[in-house]
Amino acid sequence: MSETKLDVTGLNCPLPILHARKLLQGVSAGTVVDIRASDPASVKDFNAFCRKTNSDLLEHTEERGIFTFSIRKGK
C-alpha cells in the first residue's frame, strides 16, 4: 500500500515541496495525502504546489508552529 503520510518538519524550502512531489507521484489520483511541515514558507509553497499539480488542498491547519496539509491528488 502506498505511503500517504509525509513528515517534513524541520526541513526548509525547497525540500518540503520536493518530498511532496515524490509522494504524490507514488499514489493514484484521488488519494488523500497528509503532510506535516514546519517551514513558514510551506503555506505559500503548498498552495502553489496544489495549483500546479491540479490537486485539491482539502484542509490546512497550524498548531504551535507545525503546519498540516491534506491534499487530494488530482487527475
Binding site: 509525509l6 513528515d7 517534513v8 518538519t9 524541520g10 526541513l11 526548509n12 524550502c13 525547497p14 525540500l15 515541496i17 520536493l18 518530498h19 512531489r21 515524490k22 507521484q25 514546519s38 517551514d39 513558514p40 514558507a41 505559500k44 509553497d45 502553489a48 504546489f49 500546479k52 508552529g65
Partner: protein
C-alpha cells in the same frame, strides 16, 4: 552648530533602507533560490519575474544617478578595480550551490533569522567567517592567486572602466547612446517580459516586492555616495550586498569600541530588524532548529560555500545580481549566470541525491525530473522535535534506497 558625521548619516540611512528590504522580503517572499526552485519544481516563473523586475528598476535608477553625476559608479568596487572572470565564475558557482544547501542566499539568511530561524544564525556566523577568511584571512592568498590567474582584461585595458557602456563607447557610440541603449534594451526587455504575464500582474506581493527591492538599490547608492560624501575620508560608493557585509557585521560586533559602521553592516542590521518587525507584526515568528545531523551538515557546507563564493565573485545574488548589474559591470552577468547555474545544480542535487545524477538529469539523461529524492535529504520522521529521527539523518539508508550524495 554641531557637525553632522557623514558616516553616521550613511549608517542611519542604510539601516532604514535595510528595514524596508527586510520587511519587503519577508512579506513578498522575494528570494533568488526560491525563484529557481519554483521554476524547477513548480513550473512557476512569478518569483523569477519579481527578481528580474527588481533588476530592471535597479538598473534604470542607478544608471540615472550616474548619468546625472550624482553617483560616480566608476569608484565602486564593481568598476573601480581589477576584475576576475575566474573569480566571478568559480565564486558564483560556489555561492549558487551553497545557497541551495543553506536554505537561501545571504539576504534570505538574514531575513529568515529575523523570522526566528536559528539555523540561519548558524549560517550567518559560518558564512561571515568564511567571507572574512576569503577577503582578508586564511583563504585570501588563494583568492588573490586565482584572481591573478584569471583577470578580466577588457580590450587590452583601453576602456575607461570594465563596464558595458565603456566598451560600447570605445567602439563608437557617444556616451549617451553607449549608456542609454543597453539600459533601454535590458531594462525595457525585462520589464516587458515580467509584465506580459497575467499571473505575475495579479500577484501583488511579487510585483510590488520586485518594484520596492529594485528601488532600494539606487536608494542605497544615493545614501552611500551623496549622504556619505566626505572629501576628507572618501569611501567607495556602494549599495546593497550581503556576502562580505555579513562578515563585516561579525567584525563590527567584535570590535565595536574601535569600529565604524559601514553602509553594508548597517544594511544587514536593518534587514534583520525589518524582517523581524514584519514577522512579529504578522505573528509569523517561528523558532526553528536543525532537523538532524544531515540538516546541520548541509547548512554548514552551504554557509562555507556562500561565504567564500560570495567574496570571490565580488558579490552575492543581491551584491552582483542587483547592485553589480545596476552598474553594468562586465563581471556582474558572469557572476549572476554562475550563481544561477550553481543554484540549479544544487537544487537538482537535492532532488536526485548526487552531483553526477543532477548533471545527468539536467542533460536529459537518467531519472529526469521525476527522479527520487535520495540520499541525505530523506525526510526524518519527527524532525525538528526533541526525539532523535528514526533514520538518524544521513547516517542510515533512507527508505528509497538512495545513497548520500
Amino acid at each position: 552648530m554641531a557637525d553632522i558625521d557623514p558616516a553616521g548619516l550613511v549608517a542611519a540611512a542604510s539601516f532604514t533602507l535595510g528595514l524596508v528590504f527586510g520587511a519587503t522580503s519577508w512579506i513578498s517572499g522575494f528570494c533568488a533560490m526560491g525563484a529557481l526552485s519554483d521554476i524547477l519544481f513548480l513550473d512557476d516563473w512569478r518569483r523569477l519575474r519579481s527578481w528580474l523586475l527588481a533588476t530592471a528598476v535597479a538598473l534604470i535608477g542607478t544608471q540615472g544617478l550616474d548619468a546625472a553625476g550624482l553617483v560616480d559608479l566608476g569608484r565602486s568596487v564593481y568598476l573601480g578595480g581589477p576584475l576576475s572572470w575566474g573569480g566571478a565564475i568559480l565564486g558564483g558557482l560556489m555561492f549558487g550551490v551553497g545557497m541551495t544547501l543553506a536554505g537561501g542566499c545571504g539576504a534570505k539568511t538574514v531575513v529568515r533569522l529575523g523570522g526566528g530561524n536559528l539555523k540561519s544564525l548558524v549560517v550567518l556566523l559560518v558564512s561571515g567567517l568564511f567571507a572574512m577568511m576569503t577577503l582578508k584571512g586564511l583563504l585570501a592568498p588563494l583568492r588573490q592567486a586565482w584572481e591573478r590567474l584569471t583577470p578580466l582584461g577588457v580590450m587590452g585595458g583601453s576602456v575607461a572602466a570594465p563596464s558595458l557602456p565603456a566598451v560600447l563607447e570605445e567602439i563608437g557610440p557617444p556616451e549617451v547612446a553607449a549608456r542609454g541603449f543597453p539600459v533601454a534594451l535590458i531594462a525595457g526587455g525585462l520589464v516587458w517580459w515580467c509584465l506580459k504575464d497575467a499571473a505575475f500582474r495579479r500577484s501583488a506581493g511579487y510585483l510590488f516586492g520586485g518594484l520596492i527591492i529594485g528601488l532600494l538599490i539606487p536608494a542605497g547608492w544615493t545614501a552611500s555616495a551623496i549622504l556619505g560624501a566626505d572629501p576628507f575620508d572618501p569611501v567607495p560608493p556602494t549599495s546593497f550586498s550581503f556576502a562580505a557585509p555579513i562578515g563585516g557585521a561579525l567584525i563590527y560586533l567584535m570590535t565595536f569600541t574601535g569600529a565604524s559602521l559601514s553602509f553594508g553592516v548597517a544594511a544587514v542590521a536593518g534587514t534583520l530588524a525589518g524582517a523581524f518587525a514584519a514577522a512579529a507584526l504578522r505573528r509569523e515568528v517561528r523558532i526553528e532548529g536543525f532537523a538532524d545531523t544531515g540538516d546541520l551538515r548541509r547548512h554548514l557546507a552551504g554557509a562555507a560555500l556562500m561565504g567564500t563564493g560570495g567574496v570571490l565573485a565580488l558579490g552575492c545574488t543581491v551584491g552582483q545580481g542587483l547592485t553589480g548589474l545596476s552598474t553594468l559591470s562586465l563581471s556582474a552577468p558572469l557572476a549572476l549566470a554562475a550563481i544561477a547555474a550553481g543554484g540549479v545544480l544544487g537544487l537538482k542535487r537535492l532532488e536526485t541525491g548526487g552531483f553526477v545524477a543532477a548533471i545527468n538529469s539536467l542533460a536529459g539523461r537518467g531519472e529526469g525530473r521525476s527522479g527520487g529524492v535520495g540520499g541525505c535529504e530523506a525526510p526524518p520522521r519527527n524532525a525538528g522535535c526533541e526525539a532523535p529521527p528514526r533514520n538518524g539523518g544521513c547516517e542510515a539508508p533512507p527508505r528509497n534506497g538512495g545513497c548520500c550524495g
